[in-house]
């Protein structure tokens, strides 16, 4: 199992009141599995992603990434797990503005303080169709192109797990489709697993499994699995769950 989440809870303080966002989430993502998470706004999808990424700490429950339990690790140790085992793609493109596309893709090597593999970075850019733009700064790229670069960066060190938070949320429909198709292809090639938060049923349909979050939980019985998921099926399940 690449990712194993058990009984995960997380609350946020709002003045004196505590708002429980996650109330005991259980979730597994297998090797090479593409898992989409859907749910209404505010249900805790992004919080789940942050916890898995080690950016926040859970109140209770366990998270294991490739057998390493994040709970109990300090910020430094969680950072090292994230650095070595996880790749992340966000809705907003999050490229470093003063680095070129190639430098952005090389950045994970520099951060890990290992010799930068320029060939791998160039290959990653080529794989997402951005080889010709490798010397361009983010300001010179379109939104979709920036997202492709951030996918290349997330995958360049072949992480076991990729986390994606609405990766098509800020691009037009056609670009979104292209990005998702490419993401799926590349992940299948590298064998990385994906945990993707999305509002878009069409994106979710490209996953191997779709889980739905409701009231801070991930009811296992509500998930959809299959080689070919249909958008209509997902719409139907969302309706059933009242999402």
């Amino acid at each position: 199992m690449i990712l194993s989440v058990r009984g995960l809870t997380k609350s946020y303080g709002l003045g004196e009141a505590q708002i429980a966002v996650l109330r005991g989430v259980d979730l597994d993502v297998g090797e090479g599995e593409l898992c989409a998470v859907m749910g209404p706004s505010g249900v805790g999808k992004s919080t789940l992603l942050n916890l898995v990424a080690g950016l926040e700490q859970a109140d209770a429950g366990t998270i294991e990434v490739l057998g390493t339990a994040l709970s109990g690790l300090d910020d430094q140790a969680r950072t090292l797990v994230r650095r070595d085992k996880i790749g992340i793609v966000y809705q907003f493109f999050n490229l470093v503005s003063n680095l070129t596309a190639l430098e952005n893709v090389l950045l994970p090597y520099y951060i890990a303080e290992v010799a930068p593999d320029r060939e791998a970075a160039s290959r990653a850019l080529e794989r997402v169709g951005m080889a010709k733009r490798s010397d361009h700064l983010p300001a010179q790229l379109s939104g979709g192109e920036m997202q492709l670069v951030s996918i290349a960066r997330a995958l360049v060190r072949k992480p076991a797990l990729v986390l994606a938070d609405e990766p098509t949320g800020n691009v037009n429909v056609a670009t979104g489709r292209r990005i998702l198709a490419l993401l799926r292809e590349v992940l299948k090639e590298t064998g990385s697993s994906l945990l993707m938060v999305t509002h878009n049923p069409e994106d979710a349909a490209r996953a191997d499994r779709v889980v739905f979050m409701k009231d801070g939980l991930v009811p296992e019985e509500a998930s959809l699995t299959g080689d070919t998921l249909h958008v209509a099926e997902i719409h139907e399940r969302l309706r059933e769950l009242g999402i």
Binding site: L55, F92, E103
Partner: protein, 692 residues
């Protein structure tokens, strides 16, 4: 409640660090000027009784002898007297002007902090402004918010600057820091009116600083601004100041025009006015250079970064890229550091040159000699008898009062002294010296505009005599006095048989004795200190070695310039505030980028190192530019010194000054980066990454 009154305090509170830096910018800038004004006023008050520091004090032409070169057609006593007055007061006034103008460096750096902070803070609020406009706020209302913020910053800074100047002046006066470096200020009288005016001006900089960003921001299109944005850097670039081709061409052209007209100005203007003009032009050139800094930061900075930056690979890559591509955002800090450290370097080049001049003079006129003085008319014979016979003793009369200091000495004594020193050219002058001839010091010859072979008329109530100049040298006849350095070195010698000419004004021969060792090659008389101690036992006689006098003069030179160190210390603090502020604002503007780096696996320690590296680099580049600017500035200062003071100062750049400038600039910047680096390392990445 108006919108401004509602929002301004909240905005100032939410940008606490920038607010604090702006207030400090105004406060320290105005405090520095106020301290200098107070010290100068009080120095003048203390020194009002001294002719050398009070131009209003009349010089009594009848209180000393007259020296008039033969051929002068002017009134017999007037010109030399007026020349002496002019050159003495020029030294003092030039120093005062330089100190007053120097204090502007702090004011300038403070104003830069305010202008930069307001530009960035207002720019950061583009979307907030767009939102206000979309909610129906008028342009006037929106501008009112920022103007009110600036007014608060200006007012608090001005009050603090006014108040802070009071204890700082007391501390400086207690430490003996004055405009002349020698006056001792007891009770302090503050120039309240001037201080109030300076503080008001300081406050006004904040109001002026808010005008350009507010004008810019009011032109924004709300709908466009409210669209999602993906790159903070796009916004950040909006305030980047870029140099235009016009600026680049204007500077050398202006320099050329001035270079061509300079001889004319020198001819037409009095020395002080000329010095002030040049100083103002240097200030203007510094302003102009600040406009070039963004470009230099990108180009020269990129180059230096590639060579010098060390540290974690990611931090190196990120800092180098930032410098090469967004270097203009660092330019304000680099410019501030450059300004402060170039002034410091040029100041120390000047003091070094002046001290070297003292040493050169000491080599000629002081080292190896000792001096004995009497408080009464003449040194008792018993004291002189106690001096070992192997020493050559030359008895001088007392000197006539300033500005025409003349002493009498026997030709035979001068000759023995010259021979003891072992320099044939001095012996030649001494041999020529007789009752019809005089020996002039270099500065006296320069003041009178005559040289060897020329003639001058010495007149006094007891007679008049025309004397030929036997030689011009500082190596014969110098007797230390505790007048200003220039006046101490401006003297004439006449033969003992002419003593009657100066007798009404000068103590008799034997009032001062110069002693040297005819046999020794040592630079210091071997048992000199023991002799001085024995002379001090007699209450009317005191002794001084040449080396001690040189040391005193070198220390005085340091004292003369210590007020500049105070000014530049305060300016350095301001520069550190500026760097810290710039880095904090950059951390704020780049919070998503920093969050992203954390997401990608950078540890807090790596983030901290990256910011420290950036701070250190600002210092390195600012320091490198300070060296490049400080050297010509120091050269120009020495040119001005030569021009107005007639000292033979020579340009010399000790290597350790360059190293210290770089080390100081880097240290100040890195210290300033500590807090922003800590804040950046502690930033919550999870939230920042999701929201733009």
């Amino acid at each position: 409640m108006t919108l401004g009154r509602f929002l301004a305090p909240r905005n100032l509170n939410s940008d606490r660090f920038a607010t604090l830096c702006m207030v400090l910018g105004v406060a320290l800038g105005t405090a520095t000027v106020n301290v200098v004004l107070s010290l100068d006023d009080n120095t003048r008050r203390v020194e009002a009784a001294r002719w050398s520091t009070n131009p209003d004090l009349a010089l009594d032409a009848g209180a000393t002898v007259s020296l008039v070169p033969v051929g002068w057609e002017q009134d017999a006593k007037g010109p030399a007297l007026e020349d002496a007055r002019e050159e003495t007061h020029e030294d003092y006034q030039v120093m005062r002007s330089a100190i007053r103008l120097g204090s502007l460096s702090a004011f300038l750096v403070g104003a830069l902090i305010v202008f930069f902070s307001l530009a960035v803070v207002v720019e950061h609020r583009r979307r907030e402004v767009a939102l206000l406009r979309s909610l129906g706020a008028t342009a006037r209302q929106t501008a009112g918010v920022f103007v009110r913020e600036a007014a608060w910053v200006g007012a608090i800074g001005a009050v603090l600057g006014f108040a802070l100047a009071i204890p700082l002046t007391y501390v400086a006066a207690r430490l003996g820091i004055t405009t002349t470096g020698r006056a001792r200020i007891g009770s302090i009288v503050f120039p309240w009116g001037e201080m109030l005016a300076v503080s008001l001006l300081g406050g006004l900089t904040a109001l002026l600083g808010v005008v350009p960003p507010v004008r810019r921001i009011l032109k924004l299109r709300a709908a466009e601004t409210l669209r999602p944005r993906f790159l903070d850097a796009d916004q950040a670039r909006a305030y980047a100041k870029r140099t235009s081709g016009v600026t680049l061409v204007a500077l050398p052209v202006a320099l050329l025009v001035y270079g061509l007209l300079r001889p004319l100005f020198r001819e037409v203007l009095p020395s002080l006015a000329f010095f002030v003009l040049e100083a103002l032009l240097v200030m203007l050139a510094l302003f102009a250079l600040l406009l070039l800094v963004p470009g230099l930061t990108r180009s020269l900075g990129g180059l230096l970064a590639g060579v010098f930056l060390r540290g974690p690979a990611a931090a190196r890559l990120l800092v180098t890229s930032r410098i090469r591509r967004q270097g203009d955002e660092l330019a304000w800090s680099v410019g501030g550091i450059m300004l402060v450290f170039s002034l410091l370097l040029s100041l120390h080049i000047s003091t070094h040159a002046l001290k070297a001049e003292v040493s050169r003079f000491a080599e000629t006129a002081l080292r190896g000699h000792a001096f004995l003085f009497s408080h009464d008319d003449a040194i008792p014979a018993a004291v002189l008898a106690a001096i070992p016979d192997r020493y050559v003793k030359v008895a001088f009369s007392g000197g006539t009062p300033l500005p025409n200091r003349v002493s009498a000495v026997a030709q035979a004594d001068v000759l023995r002294f010259a021979r003891a020193v072992g320099k044939p050219e001095l012996s030649a002058i001494a041999e020529r010296f007789d009752a019809d001839r005089t020996i002039l010091s270099t500065l006296m010859a320069r003041r009178l505009g005559i040289s060897t072979g020329d003639r001058l008329t010495l007149s006094s109530p007891t007679g008049e005599r025309t004397l030929e100049v036997a030689g011009v040298t500082d190596a014969l006849g110098f007797v230390p006095t505790f007048e200003t350095y220039r006046n101490a070195k401006t003297y004439a010698l006449i033969e003992a048989s002419n003593y009657h000419l100066i007798a009404p004004f000068a103590a008799p021969i034997g009032n001062a004795v110069v002693i040297t060792d005819a046999s020794a090659e040592a630079r210091e008389l071997p048992d000199w200190r023991e002799l001085i101690r024995s002379w001090r036992k007699g209450s009317h006689v005191y002794g001084l070695s040449g080396t001690d006098y040189e040391w005193m003069r070198r220390r005085e030179t340091d004292g003369d310039f210590v007020i500049f160190d105070l000014i530049l210390l305060l300016t350095s603090v301001l520069a550190a505030v500026g760097v810290s502020n710039q880095l904090m604002l950059a951390v704020h503007a780049r919070r998503r980028e920093i969050a992203l780096l954390r997401v990608l696996g950078m540890t807090p320690s790596q983030i901290r190192k990256m910011l420290l590296l950036e701070g250190g680099f600002v210092g390195l580049l600012g320091g490198a530019l300070a060296v490049l600017l400080g050297i010509p500035l120091g050269f120009a200062s020495l040119g001005a010194l030569k021009l107005v003071s007639a000292f033979d100062v020579q340009f010399e750049l000790p290597l350790h000054y360059v190293v210290l400038t770089l080390a100081g600039a880097v240290s100040v910047s890195m210290l300033a980066a500590l807090y922003p680096a800590r804040r950046a390392a502690r930033a919550q990445s999870a939230e920042s990454i999701h929201y733009e």
